[in-house]
C-alpha cells in the first residue's frame, strides 16, 4: 500500500483506535495509565536518564534512555542491573543515607527511601525480583536505550498507582569511590565488588500529565516545499533559453546573400 493511501486511511483508523485507547485512560481519574521518571545521578556519578511507562492492565511498556554511567567492567561492557523498587517512601536516597561512612549509599542503605525490589528491568526472560542480580540480562555500557513490556505483580501495581514506585539503576564506576569503598564487597552479592551493585541512577515514577504519552516524533510534513520546487517550470525555462541559442546559431548559418 503506498504512503498516500496509508495517510488517507490513517485518520479514520486512528479515530477508531483512539476511541478504544481512550477507555482505559478515562476509567476514573484515580488510576493513570501513563507514568514517567527522570533518573538523577546518585553516589557522585554524572549520569542521567528518563523512563516512560505505559500501563495497559497489568502490562507495563517501558521505554528508557540512560547516558553517562560506567562503561566497562573487567574489560567488558558494564552490566547495569535495574529494577522497579516498591513499598518504601517512594523517594531516592540522599547522601545522608550512607550509614557506614564509606561515601557510598549502598542498595541496602537506600532501602528506606525506595523499598525492596518489585520487578527487574531485565532485557529478556524473568522480570521478577528473582532475576535481580542476573548480570547477563542487564543492559550494559555507558549509555543504553531499553524498551520492553513486562507484567507487573499486584504489589508493584499498587506502589506504581500510589506514587511509591522508584526506578533504580545500579553499577558505579569504581574510580569514583573512596579507597575504602573500592575495597568493599557487595552486601548483596559478596562475589562482586560494592561498586557493581550500588545505585547509580534513581527516579520516582510519577503519573504523566498526559493520559497517553505518544511514542515519539510526529509526521507533520509531505515535503512539497523542500528542495527544488517546480522543476518542470525550471526545465522549461532552460529549454527556452537553449532554443533561443539554437535560433542564434541558425541565424549565423544563413548567408547574408540571398
Amino acid at each position: 500500500m503506498n504512503k498516500k493511501a496509508v495517510l488517507l486511511l490513517a485518520p479514520p483508523l486512528a479515530l477508531g483506535a483512539a476511541v478504544l485507547l481512550a477507555m482505559p485512560g478515562q476509567a476514573g481519574a484515580a488510576t493513570a495509565s501513563s507514568y514517567q521518571a527522570t533518573l538523577k545521578a546518585l553516589n557522585h556519578s554524572t549520569g542521567s536518564g528518563n523512563v516512560s511507562l505505559q500501563l495497559n492492565g497489568n502490562k507495563a511498556t517501558i521505554v528508557e534512555n540512560v547516558t553517562g554511567i560506567a562503561a566497562t567492567f573487567g574489560g567488558k561492557p558494564y552490566p547495569h542491573v535495574q529494577h522497579i523498587h516498591i513499598g518504601g517512601a517512594g523517594m531516592c536516597p540522599t547522601a545522608s543515607a550512607d550509614k557506614n561512612g564509606d561515601g557510598v549509599v549502598s542498595t541496602t542503605e537506600g532501602g528506606p527511601a525506595y523499598g525492596p525490589i518489585g520487578a527487574t528491568l531485565s532485557t529478556s526472560g524473568d522480570s521478577s525480583p528473582k532475576a535481580a542480580t542476573v548480570l547477563t540480562v542487564a543492559p550494559s555500557g555507558a549509555s543504553f536505550s531499553y524498551s520492553r513490556t513486562i507484567t507487573l505483580d499486584s504489589k508493584t501495581m499498587a506502589s506504581l498507582t500510589s506514587g511509591k514506585a522508584v526506578v533504580v539503576v545500579h553499577g558505579l564506576d569504581p574510580a569514583t569511590l573512596s579507597k575504602k569503598a573500592q575495597g568493599e564487597k557487595s552486601e548483596l552479592v559478596p562475589s562482586l565488588p560494592l561498586a557493581a551493585t550500588s545505585p547509580v541512577l534513581c527516579g520516582t515514577l510519577v503519573a504523566s500529565q498526559m493520559s497517553q504519552v505518544p511514542g515519539g516524533a510526529a509526521a507533520t510534513g509531505g515535503g512539497s516545499t523542500s528542495g527544488i520546487e517546480d522543476e518542470a517550470l525550471l526545465l522549461a525555462g532552460g529549454g527556452l533559453l537553449l532554443a533561443a541559442g539554437g535560433a542564434l546559431v541558425a541565424r549565423r548559418r544563413v548567408s547574408r546573400q540571398s
Binding site: 527522570t38 538523577k40 528518563n50 498526559m210 510526529a218 509531505g222 528542495g227 517550470l233 532552460g238 544563413v254
Partner: protein, 238 residues
C-alpha cells in the same frame, strides 16, 4: 507563395525568434526561482540544548529550557497562571500569520501521535490525550509544515517563532489562553527527546510541533521535528 529565408530577411527573422525565446526563457526562470519556498528554521544554537530534567523557574520571563519535574510528585503547586479544563477551538499566532481552527487528534495504532488530515485547507490540531491549553502540563498542538500535494501547511513558518512571541488559544468556555514562546528547537526524529517535549511541567505549558530539517526522499518524511515551547501568561474573555 514561397518565402525567402535566406539573406538579410532570414537573419533578421531568426534574430527576432532568438530574442523572443530568450525573453520567454528568462521570464519562466525568474518565475520558477521566485516560487521556491523554504520553511524557516529555528536558530541552530537552540537545537540540542534542551535536556529532560533541566531546571526552569516557570515564570514567563525566564529564559532557557523547558522544565520537566518528573522526579517530583505531580501534586506540587504549579507556578504561574492555570486555567480549568476546556476544549481548545482556535489557534492564533500573529507573528507567523497562523489563524486556524483546531481539530482533535488521537494516537495512531503504532502509538505515534495522529496528525491532521492532509488537505488543501491545512488546520492545526490538539492532541486530546494531553492537557487542554491552559491546564498544568504539556498541551500539544500539531500542524503540517507542508503536504506533498498542496504546498505550505499551517505551521510552515513555525521555525521563525522566537522567544517572546504570543500564541493565543480560544477555548470552548469562551476564554482565550495567552501563551508566550520560551524557545524553539529542532530535534531529529530518530532521537526524539520524549520527556523534554511530552514530560510533566510545573506550569501551564504549550508545545507546537511540526516537521523540519532535510526531507528524506526514500521515506517521504522530514528527518526532524521543530518544537516551539510556550508558557501561559494570561487569559481573557473571547
Amino acid at each position: 507563395m514561397r518565402v525567402k529565408y535566406d539573406g538579410h530577411r532570414g537573419r533578421a527573422l531568426l534574430a527576432a525568434v532568438a530574442a523572443m525565446l530568450a525573453a520567454l526563457g528568462v521570464t519562466v526562470l525568474v518565475i520558477a526561482s521566485r516560487a521556491q519556498r523554504q520553511a524557516p528554521q529555528p536558530p541552530p544554537s537552540a537545537a540540542g540544548t534542551y535536556a529532560a530534567g533541566s531546571l526552569h523557574a516557570g515564570t514567563p520571563s525566564s529564559s532557557g529550557p523547558p522544565s520537566t519535574s518528573g522526579g517530583q510528585p505531580s501534586a506540587a503547586r504549579p507556578s504561574g497562571p492555570v486555567l480549568a479544563k476546556s476544549m481548545p477551538t482556535h489557534l492564533s499566532i500573529p507573528a507567523i500569520g497562523v489563524d486556524s481552527d483546531l481539530v482533535q487528534l488521537g494516537l495512531n495504532p503504532d502509538h505515534s501521535v495522529q496528525v491532521p488530515s492532509l488537505g488543501a485547507e491545512s488546520k492545526a490540531g490538539w492532541y486530546r490525550y494531553s492537557p487542554t491549553p491552559g491546564q498544568v502540563g504539556p498541551s500539544i498542538l500539531l500542524g503540517h509544515i507542508d503536504s506533498a500535494r498542496y504546498g505550505p501547511g499551517v505551521f510552515f513558518k513555525l521555525g521563525a517563532l522566537r522567544k517572546g512571541d504570543t500564541v493565543s488559544v480560544r477555548r470552548a468556555d469562551s476564554t482565550v489562553a495567552v501563551f508566550r514562546v520560551d524557545a524553539v528547537a529542532e530535534y531529529p526524529k530518530d532521537h526524539f527527546p520524549t520527556l523534554t517535549v511530552y514530560g510533566n511541567t510545573d506550569h501551564a505549558a504549550l508545545r507546537l510541533i511540526t516537521c523540519g530539517g532535510k526531507f528524506n526522499l526514500s521515506s517521504h518524511n522530514y528527518e526532524d521535528n521543530i518544537v516551539a515551547f510556550a508558557s501561559l501568561v494570561s487569559a481573557h474573555a473571547a
